[in-house]
């Protein structure tokens, strides 16, 4: 039997397709929050420049309330997470830390699940730390929506190789789409 698998670095093969821990996921959250915050600040600077060019004489630096800032940043973060999880299953932070958000079957999230998860993540960010306590490394959002964040190092090695299934490293060598469904189903049954 021949299957297409991807080359994964030896130290990581043992973790490929398994749920990511709290440290990795916190790092992902920090990176994504930084990306969105940067986008908001750039947009703010752009808005200031446009207002200045529109009427330089009456120009005053707009200072939105903190509540408005939080609303805009939260909305943008929700949109960003929803789009990324729906299309590729990865945000920028996920790409950097090589993890992927999948549903209980190991597939990319549907639009509904992704948007619900994004809203839940933005409203209850502390739910992430349930990952440290949960036996299966699942956050509050994961438990409620039956989603998972798995290690997926394929982003680090873009060149796919073709080899026979169940090679030297056995299960761990397989792509996460091969590993995740059975693994996740098995754990959801408990």
């Amino acid at each position: 039997v021949t299957a297409t698998v991807r080359l994964v670095q030896p130290p990581v093969t043992a973790f490929q397709g398994r749920r990511a821990g709290v440290v990795t996921r916190t790092a992902v959250a920090v990176i994504d929050a930084t990306v969105v915050l940067t986008a908001v600040l750039v947009a703010y600077g752009f808005a200031i420049a446009v207002i200045f060019l529109w009427s330089p004489r009456q120009f005053r630096i707009p200072s939105p309330r903190f509540f408005v800032f939080l609303l805009v940043a939260g909305g943008l973060l929700t949109l960003y997470l929803t789009v990324c999880w729906t299309i590729t299953g990865r945000t920028y932070g996920d790409r950097v830390l090589a993890v992927r958000v999948v549903d209980r079957r190991g597939d990319v999230l549907s639009l509904g699940t992704a948007s619900l998860r994004a809203i839940f993540c933005v409203l209850v960010p502390l739910g992430l730390f349930w990952t440290a306590i949960n036996r299966h490394n699942r956050s509050l959002q994961d438990v409620l929506l039956r989603t998972s964040v798995i290690y997926d190092w394929d982003v680090a090695s873009p060149q796919p190789i073709s080899t026979s299934a169940g090679g030297e490293h056995g299960q761990a060598d397989r792509a996460p789409t091969d590993v995740a469904p059975r693994a996740l189903d098995a754990e959801h049954s408990d």
Binding site: V12, F15, R18, V23, T24, A27, I133, R135, A183
Partner: protein, 152 residues
């Protein structure tokens, strides 16, 4: 080698004929006539003969075996040659031939991917460490399910 051989033959013939012509001025008319006939014959025959001889010789090997090239090289004034060269133009030509942006891109990509790989593995190690601490705190002696192999 053949071209160089012909040049060599031509030079040899020209110098030989020069010597013969110089000697003709000191001879009487009859002898001069005879000499001119010989010279004409030599003009026709000698170049062809010499060219044939040189064409059959391996001049490169001849030079390699009989000429001390190191001694010749010592006599060459390299600085004078370098002074005549447009080194800046030469350097620009060499740089144009090398795809420097691609080399820089490749090396920086290698450094970046190494750094990212290190961060990822350290994060996984930290995940494991936290899981172990929490397991110990919650008295989970079997260890967390996420840390064990998940596939059958």
């Amino acid at each position: 080698v053949q071209l160089r051989g012909k040049d060599f033959a031509d030079a040899l013939v020209r110098s030989g004929l020069g010597v013969v012509r110089a000697g003709l001025h000191r001879l009487d008319p009859v002898e001069q006539l005879a000499r001119q006939a010989v010279t004409a014959a030599a003009d026709a025959v000698v170049p062809a003969v010499v060219a044939e001889i040189v064409a059959r010789m391996d001049l490169t090997r001849l030079v390699q075996e009989n000429v001390d090239l190191d001694v010749l090289a010592e006599g060459i004034d390299v600085d004078a040659i370098a002074d005549r060269l447009d080194l800046l133009r030469l350097a620009r030509y060499v740089v144009d031939g090398i795809d420097l942006p691609e080399i820089i891109r490749e090396s920086s990509h290698g450094v970046t991917s190494d750094a990212v790989r290190r961060v990822r593995t350290q994060a996984i190690d930290a995940d494991q460490a936290v899981a172990r601490v929490v397991d110990r705190l919650l008295l989970r002696h079997a260890g967390s399910a996420a840390a064990n192999p998940v596939a059958p």
